[in-house]
């Protein structure tokens, strides 16, 4: 738990906050994770992301990357480490 808490992901960001992606996936717990698709969509290491909005239920999140905004579910956003 302690070691996991240190890793921040896009799901932990506040609205308006920006950060640079460090890794995508990597130590994903979920084997069915769609990390490759996230990368294809533009979430590659080194890219700057901004949390644009959260829906009323705090899930999905709207994240901007490479000049566009993409809505992601929380569990998908958790694959993107910052």
């Amino acid at each position: 738990m302690d070691s996991l808490a240190a890793i921040k992901t896009v799901a932990d960001m506040k609205i308006g906050e920006s950060a640079v992606i460090t890794t995508v996936g990597d130590d994903c717990i979920d084997i069915h994770c769609h990390c490759l698709r996230l990368m294809e969509l533009g979430f590659t290491p080194g890219q700057e992301v901004t949390l644009v909005a959260k829906s009323p239920f705090k899930d999905p999140l709207a994240v901007s990357v490479r000049g566009t905004v993409i809505a992601l579910r929380r569990n998908e956003a958790e694959c993107i480490k910052i």
């Binding site: 069915h32 994770c33 769609h34 294809e40 533009g42 999905p60 566009t68 905004v69 809505a71």
Partner: protein
Amino acid sequence: MSDQTEKNSASCHGEQSVALEEHNPVIALVGVPNSGKTTLFNSLTGSNFKTSNYPGATVEYSAGNLISKIGFKSYVIDTPGIVSLNASSPDEEVTINGLFNHYKYGIPDIIISTADCTQLSRQLFLVKQLIDAGLNVIVAVTMNDLLENKGLELDSEKLSGLLGCPVIKVNSRKSVGIVELGLEAKKMFEDSLLTNFQAKVSRPKHPDENSIAKLYDFTEETERAVIRSKSKEIDIQAINEKIFKNINRKPDANSLKLDKFFLHPVWGMVIFVIAMGLIFTSIFWLARPIMDLIDSGFSNLSEAVSLILPQHTWYNDLITKGIIKGFGSVMTFLPQIVILFIYLGLLEDSGYLSRAAMLIDKPLSKFGLNGRSFVPMISGYACAIPAIMAARTIPNRRERYLTIMIIPLMSCSARVPVYALLLAFLVPPDKPWLAGLGLGALYLFSLISGSLVAAVISKFKKSDEKSTFMLELPAYRKPVLRHILKNAYHKSSVYVKQAGPIIVFISLILWALTYFPDIHPDISKDRTNGLNEQQIERLTESDRLNHSYAAKLGGIFEPVLKPLGWDWRIGVSLISAFAAREVFVSSMAITFSITDADDNDENLQKSMLTSMREAKQFGTDKPLFTIASTLALIIYFVFAMQCLSTVAVARKETGSWRIPLLQIVVYTTMAYVLSLITYNGLRLIGVS
């Protein structure tokens, strides 16, 4: 569509292009979703196009001839948007297969790949994959005006050099670059005739993290090289870099501002609910007058034709009551469907639809559905047929099937006349507002029951296919009304072609069941006393019906209906409602021999209510229609899979009988059991 089902088993591309029939050159439009592909398609093809499905799949593509002023006789196909050449859903797989091995055209002669220049590094990802696969690619750069709003512009010559393929800036809204694009395609096609490029085309392998990162390195570098500041005087590399970092990687500023409201945790939801409420109710009141017009138009036509043809012949009856009425019931729903598609087009083109899907994803995911199920479900309130077709956009097969499964439970517009009649019977005449309230409650009830069914099914049927929701929220744009109307027209004609024949066919069967064995009843004098000619006509009509095959069929079902408090007359009406639910009302009018001759709607309903009150149960003097039996009927209509056109469309869209059969069995059983419980439960607590 049987001409499109030819099978191509040839494995080698070269071999296959020989096996294909001769055809005009094919230009395929390929691009990331929201890259302006469909708008460009509209400009390239003008007004002529048709949509088709890939055989065996529900993935839809549009195709049309290139506008003639370019002077290049060719066929343009618009493929569904894809993110990369690596498929992540069955539908994407079909689309990508089509690029390398189209069932009809083989490898497209030309690929026009759209690229939104405000997010070039993302968009070039697919472009580069297409080029690397060996396809003949022309890049059409879109959204140049949005880039200029940021004070930037794209150097298309430089981009062309870096990519090694022609690059043309287009603005489909203002028809800029369309002809140039067409001429470039022509030139490329003529050049390619000398080479056998098809032989070198190969589909890329499944990517890994490294190959994706490498591809993105290329696209980023390219983007940096081709985007420059618009004012050339101060075009210094250093400033350029700065501008670039700060501006071009930011999404459209106006959209971000608008999203502060539309995606606000509280206001976003309020706006969503109000917008949906307005759209929803306005579909009904906008369509109502047109529907009435169509309805009376067909009645007048039927009457006029009936006077022209020889009286009391079977073919007079067949044409006026079978064919014309059948077509009438197809057309009556058209206004609602057209208006629905116009609304959906406006929502989609403006960019709001994907936001709506995002807002509603979480609640829907609780029921095993997806934010993308939202549009099909909403459409289901107008008509299940376009709604089931709209479910194609859900990438996860399981969620798509689940959405299709529950759509028939959404309270479609054909149920409204039925509910209106039955609620009018239940509600005291001095409190008509109660009926409105009842109708609202039924809408809500259908949403709840649909969600519950979805929840139960997804509970029982777990799946390994992981549910995802990754949806681009495109920049807000002013919709192009011309394109929306064109698409609405197009989609509506698909409805007419799909549902039309089935509804007409069933109408004809029902006509035959109610017409034959063609008995001419002898109406005794004492029954016709004091009635005018038209009223006698109706009495004859009802007597004929009482001796028809339909009545016999209803009689067979009577033992089943008796526990619900219904008799064969309701049974006949229920059978006839298989053509379309609203037919129940007109059928009730016939089976209960409504003798009020006025064509005035209000009078007809009044006299129907009177006959319903006077109708007696199974030869006793107990009333047939009680609160309990009428409520049971309403419950039946909430659940029953009563529409055969829906069954046919569900079969077509899912590619098997499993879902439609499940719908028939589950919903009809549910309808019967719940009606049974309603009727007997109410009687048990003293409500008869």
